[in-house]
Amino acid sequence: MDIDRPSDPQVSVVSSDGTMFHTTLKSILLSGTIKDMIEHIGEGGVENMGAIPLQNVDSKTLEIVIKWIEHHKDNIQPTSEEIKDKTADFIDPWDENFLEMDLDKLYNLITAANYLNIPQLLWLSTRKIAMLIKNRTPQEIRSLFNIEDDWTPQEIEAVQKENQWCEEK
């Protein structure tokens, strides 16, 4: 490593609504999308590179994402393949706490994690939604997520018949 070059240089990113955020290279590399971009810039480009525009992420969400990547910048990130095999895994209490946010924010976070390709964050946030689905009735799920009930009475009957076994106590 070069002596006069900081080991973890500053990088700037700009949200869709034009807010600039400063973070470090190490953190931002957790995003597969940005990693790909930076690799294409090539030799010595990082310092001279301007702010990276992220047109699909608004400032509120980007702030949350940056908080997460900065906390996890030194952790080894699992690959998407490893995440696929995960079962009921241990969740870091910090992450658990971090994900306490309203649903709209959570949706935006999921969309951002997907766009930025941060597998671990995507897994955590989708899992969070799954936890909310668990142990609820269909009606409770509908009202929680604001989903319209679009079944016809005949369809409801057919589905109920098919799934009777699931409600047996």
Partner: protein, 288 residues
């Protein structure tokens, strides 16, 4: 929620256990479609029940995130059968391969009720199982066999021979593997009677392995050829060779001449039989 792309929704669903998936598929048409179409791509898990504290184990297993459980192993199960039944019921669409080793004593009626309803069960192994009251079941269900509709491979190892009764008339049974059957009800040769009854009623059988099936008081071949199934593979351990008459073996092998390609004797037959096989049969493989 509608702002999320479909593949993200599928990601969310892949974190759910089977029960929650079924409930989620009732939420709206989109969810139902997505869950149905993505089931194949979700992860497969095996379930293994070995703990004696079965209630707890099964409850935990039940909550495993999964798309589909295909394989189930039940080893040393001595817990609450009702809970097990519930688990089977939840996974009844997906379970394809089940291995049961040393369970507590089950009544045949309960066993059939719980296991025969599994719609995709294609391989079943029973090892050291003793099921009570199998004869009763036979009387009740014979004639209306819908049970075990997709069962193709059956392995019965060290079980009471009355178990054969439960599988009589299973339409798709093509492979049967029997090791060391016994019976608590004398006379001893009842094993053969039950086995032959099963063979006679399994028209699609093409692989047969008999190993260490004692009580060969009657000649196995003499009874086998009578109902004329065509075996492609046969592995046989003629434990009590003195009871196997040469004439019957010859007749049996002649009957199977066209289909039989693989023949394995676990005990070397007499020279005369070997001679006969070599001259009469065209086998792909012959092993003593």
């Amino acid at each position: 929620m509608e702002c999320l792309p479909y593949h993200i929704l599928v990601k969310i669903f892949s974190n759910l256990d089977t029960k929650s998936l079924v409930i989620s598929s009732k939420v709206c048409q989109l969810w139902s479609e997505l869950i149905k179409s993505s089931q194949d791509t979700m992860n497969c898990f095996n379930i293994k029940i070995t703990s004696n504290r079965s209630r707890q184990t099964i409850t935990i297993l039940d909550e495993l995130p999964c798309g589909r459980h295909r394989n189930l192993q039940i080893i040393d199960f001595c817990g609450d059968f009702i809970i097990l039944k519930q688990l089977l019921s939840i996974h009844r669409m997906t379970l394809a391969n089940i291995i049961i080793v040393r369970p507590t004593l089950w009544q045949a009626s309960i066993f059939t009720e719980a296991f025969s309803a599994l719609r995709n069960l294609s391989e079943l192994t029973l090892e050291n199982c003793h099921l009570g009251e199998c004869e009763k079941i036979n009387k009740n269900v014979s004639g209306e066999i819908e049970n075990f509709a997709k069962l193709r491979e059956l392995r019965i190892i060290n079980c009471n021979c009355e178990i054969f009764n439960l599988f009589i008339g299973v339409k798709n049974l093509s492979s049967l593997h029997v090791e060391y059957s016994y019976t608590f009800n004398p006379p001893e040769n009842i094993t053969m009677k039950y086995l032959i009854n099963l063979l006679r009623n399994s028209p699609n059988l093409d692989k047969l392995l008999l190993f260490g099936v004692t009580s060969f008081r009657e000649n196995p071949f003499s009874d086998c050829f009578k109902f004329g199934f065509k075996l492609e593979r046969m592995k046989i351990d003629v434990v009590e060779r003195e009871y196997v008459s040469l004439k019957n073996v010859k007749k049996f092998l002649k009957d199977q001449k066209k289909s039989l390609k693989y023949l394995i004797f676990l005990t070397k037959p007499s020279d005369e039989i070997v001679e006969f096989i070599k001259s009469e049969l065209t086998l792909n493989k012959l092993v003593f």
